[in-house]
Amino acid sequence: MKELVEILAKALVDRPDEVYVNQVEGEQSIILELKVNPDDMGKVIGKQGRIAKAIRTLVKAAAAKEGKRVVVEIIQ
């Protein structure tokens, strides 16, 4: 799951070497904290959050298979 977010984010940003994903595991849910260079924030969020929404849709699809709830958070 973490790998998926990394692959997607790295393909979208200008500074792929500054993409970090931290996985925080809870009992029923997993939180994936995505951090990118401040200049790349728009590249992972998009107009009206369209890119962030697409990333979440894919993560949700992958998570459904494993029966876990996964939350993707983009942090500053």
Binding site: I7, P16, T57
Partner: protein
């Protein structure tokens, strides 16, 4: 084709810098050495190296590799078929788990298509449209929408009432507009804002 010129102390360093700026790996580029540079006798006489680094235009290959990575990370078992025609890239996904990549009303497929398009176009100068289908879903959906449009047009004509459809993405609305544009008895238009924009079918007076 995207290419940049870069200076560095050595050819290798200049290439390194260019790759970082382009965000690609060494295998994805062609390198032309414009100036090999020299170390000089003392550093005063040193001359920087200059290279021109060009991203190889293999869009189909990029899309294939990008999707393979994603599909691996999602642990789904599907095959990827990529075709390039002009500035369009058509992808068909096939396999036992393909439903997972399609999602409800093609929502996952749309997300995959959108992100693949963004990732690809970041590396190209001209715009390349990526269309991803899963087990013929888009074709089936198109036929469903055309049947729906015809059914609702009939209803609109009979009742004389406006019929508002559920929200749909732009290309799905286009299918409906197109399906009814030659019907002289009804008109269609869209109202609302994306992503909740919806079609209205109305009988003409």
């Amino acid at each position: 084709m995207k290419s940049i010129r870069k200076k560095g102390k050595t050819v290798e360093q200049a290439v390194e810098l260019a790759l970082k700026e382009l965000g690609v790996s060494r295998e994805e580029v062609d390198v032309e050495v414009l100036d090999a540079g020299s170390k000089g006798i003392f550093s005063i006489l040193a001359k920087d190296a200059m290279v021109m680094v060009t991203v190889k235009q293999d869009n189909a290959d990029f899309v294939f590799r990008f999707l393979s990575q994603i599909i691996n990370a999602m642990k789904v078992n599907v095959s990827i078929d990529v075709k390039e025609e002009g500035n369009h890239i058509f992808v068909n996904l096939q396999g036992p788990n393909v439903g997972l990549l399609i999602g409800r009303r093609g929502e996952t497929l749309d997300a995959l298509q959108y992100l693949t398009g963004l990732a690809l176009n970041k590396r190209t100068d001209e715009y390349i449209r990526v269309i991803i289908d899963g087990a013929g879903y888009r074709v089936r959906r198109k036929n469903t929408l055309i049947r729906l449009a015809e059914k609702l047009a009939k209803q609109a004509k009979k009742t004389g009432k406006k019929i508002t459809l559920e929200p749909m993405p732009p290309y799905e609305r286009k299918i409906i507009h197109t399906a009814l544009q030659n019907d002289p008895a009804v008109k269609t238009y869209s109202e609302g804002l994306e992503p909740y924009r919806r079609i209205v079918i109305e009988a003409k007076q």
